[in-house]
C-alpha cells in the first residue's frame, strides 16, 4: 500500500488506507464502506467556520440534483465531534452526511495525507472508486481557498475514464 505523502493528499492509484470514522449516529464508517460505491470525501477544517459554510452549502446545491446522476455518494469529514457535525449540518440545512475523525484525533485524516499541522483537516477532496482505490484527490492551496464544485465533477470524470480503461 502506498504511504500517504506528508505533504499532500493520498494520490490517485493508491488503495484507500484502513481507517475508522464515526457516522453521526455513532456507528463506524471504515474502508469496507467504500467498497461497491463511488465515494466523495470532503475534508474540511472546522464545523461552523464561515468558509466551510459556503463550501458545504454550495456542494449541497449540486448534491441533490447533479451528483446522483454520477452514482456518487458524498460525505463531509472533519475532526469535530459528531454532535458538533450534526449541529453544523442542521444549521446549514444540508443533507450531506458527516464523518467524525475525533478520537484518535485526525487518525483518518493522517491516513489520507490531509492532516494540517494546525490540528485540523486540510481542505481536500478525495474520490474513492468502488474498488476502494483512490481515483482522484485534490488539496486546496490553503484552508482559506474553497475548492469549486466543478473540481468534484472533474474528479468523477477521471474516475469514469479510469473505469472505462480498466
Amino acid at each position: 500500500m502506498s504511504a500517504p505523502s506528508a505533504d499532500g493528499p493520498i494520490p490517485a492509484g493508491a488503495p484507500a488506507p484502513e481507517f475508522t470514522l464515526l457516522r453521526e449516529d455513532g456507528t463506524e464508517f471504515t474502508r469496507a464502506d467504500l467498497e461497491g460505491n463511488t465515494t466523495v470525501l470532503v475534508f474540511y477544517p472546522f464545523a461552523f467556520s464561515p468558509v466551510c459554510t459556503d463550501q458545504i452549502g454550495l456542494y449541497e446545491e449540486v448534491l441533490g440534483d447533479y451528483l446522483p446522476k454520477r452514482g456518487a455518494t458524498m460525505y463531509g469529514v472533519s475532526c469535530d465531534a459528531r454532535w458538533s457535525q450534526t449541529a453544523f449540518r442542521e444549521k446549514l440545512g444540508v443533507s450531506i452526511p458527516q464523518l467524525s475523525d475525533f478520537e484518535p484525533k485526525g487518525a483518518a485524516c493522517r491516513a489520507f495525507g490531509v492532516y494540517h499541522p494546525g490540528g485540523f483537516p486540510q481542505r481536500a477532496l478525495v474520490i474513492v472508486g468502488p474498488d476502494a482505490v483512490v481515483a482522484w484527490s485534490y488539496q486546496a492551496p490553503s484552508p482559506a481557498d474553497l475548492p469549486g464544485a466543478n473540481l468534484i465533477f472533474d474528479g468523477l470524470d477521471a474516475v469514469a475514464a479510469g473505469s472505462a480503461k480498466a
Partner: protein, 178 residues
C-alpha cells in the same frame, strides 16, 4: 412548490466562464468596462456590492448564483427577476429585490410585480415555468463550471474576484483593458 433544478441538468465539470452572452442582462454606460456579477438576491454581501456597482462607471452583466441551503428564497427571487425580464422589467425587479431582502416571500414578489405594473397573472405563471428555471439554472451551472464558489463573485476580463468590491480598482482594471 419549490423552485429548483429538475430535468435536463448539464454536467458540472470545469469549463471557462462564458464571456458576455446575448441572453445576459446588462446595464451601464456604453463603452464602460464590463463586469459580470454572479449573485444571489438573498445574499446580503451581494446587496452591499450592488449598491457600490450601481454608481460605478461600469457595465454590469448579472448572472444568477442561488444557493438554497443558505438562502431558501434565492431561487424564487431569481425566477421572479427572470419572469419580470420577460415583461421588460429585469433591472427594475433586480433593484426592488435587493432593496428589501427581508421580504422575499410570494406575496412580496407579487407586490413588487404590481409596483412595476407587470401583468401579474403572466408574471406568476412565468416565474414557475420550466423555461425560467432553466434560465436561472444555466447561469448557476456556468458559474459552478467556471469555479464560482461564493457570492458575490465578480468577473472582470476573465479574472474572478470575491470579497469586498473595490469599484475604483475595477474601473482602473477596465480602463487599462485588463
Amino acid at each position: 412548490m419549490t423552485a429548483g433544478p429538475g430535468a435536463g441538468l448539464s454536467d458540472l465539470s470545469s469549463a471557462p466562464l462564458p464571456g458576455l452572452l446575448e441572453q445576459d442582462h446588462v446595464r451601464g454606460p456604453d463603452g464602460a468596462p464590463l463586469v459580470i456579477v454572479y449573485a444571489d438576491f438573498e445574499c446580503p454581501y451581494c446587496a452591499a456590492a450592488e449598491v457600490k456597482l450601481k454608481g460605478a462607471q461600469l457595465r454590469i452583466a448579472f448572472r444568477h448564483f442561488p444557493v438554497r441551503s443558505s438562502h431558501p428564497r434565492a431561487w424564487p427571487a431569481a425566477c421572479a427577476a427572470e419572469a419580470a425580464a420577460l415583461q421588460g422589467g429585469f433591472w427594475e425587479m433586480h433593484d426592488l429585490l435587493f432593496a428589501d431582502q427581508g421580504r422575499l416571500e410570494d406575496p412580496h414578489l407579487w407586490a413588487r410585480a404590481r409596483t412595476l405594473g407587470l401583468d401579474l397573472e403572466r408574471f406568476d405563471a412565468d416565474r414557475r415555468s420550466p423555461a425560467v428555471m432553466a434560465r436561472v439554472r444555466g447561469d448557476f451551472e456556468s458559474g459552478v463550471r467556471g469555479g464560482v464558489v461564493t457570492t458575490p463573485t465578480l468577473v472582470a476580463n476573465g479574472a474572478l474576484r470575491t470579497g469586498e468590491v473595490d469599484v475604483h480598482s475595477l474601473e482602473e482594471f477596465g480602463a487599462r483593458g485588463g
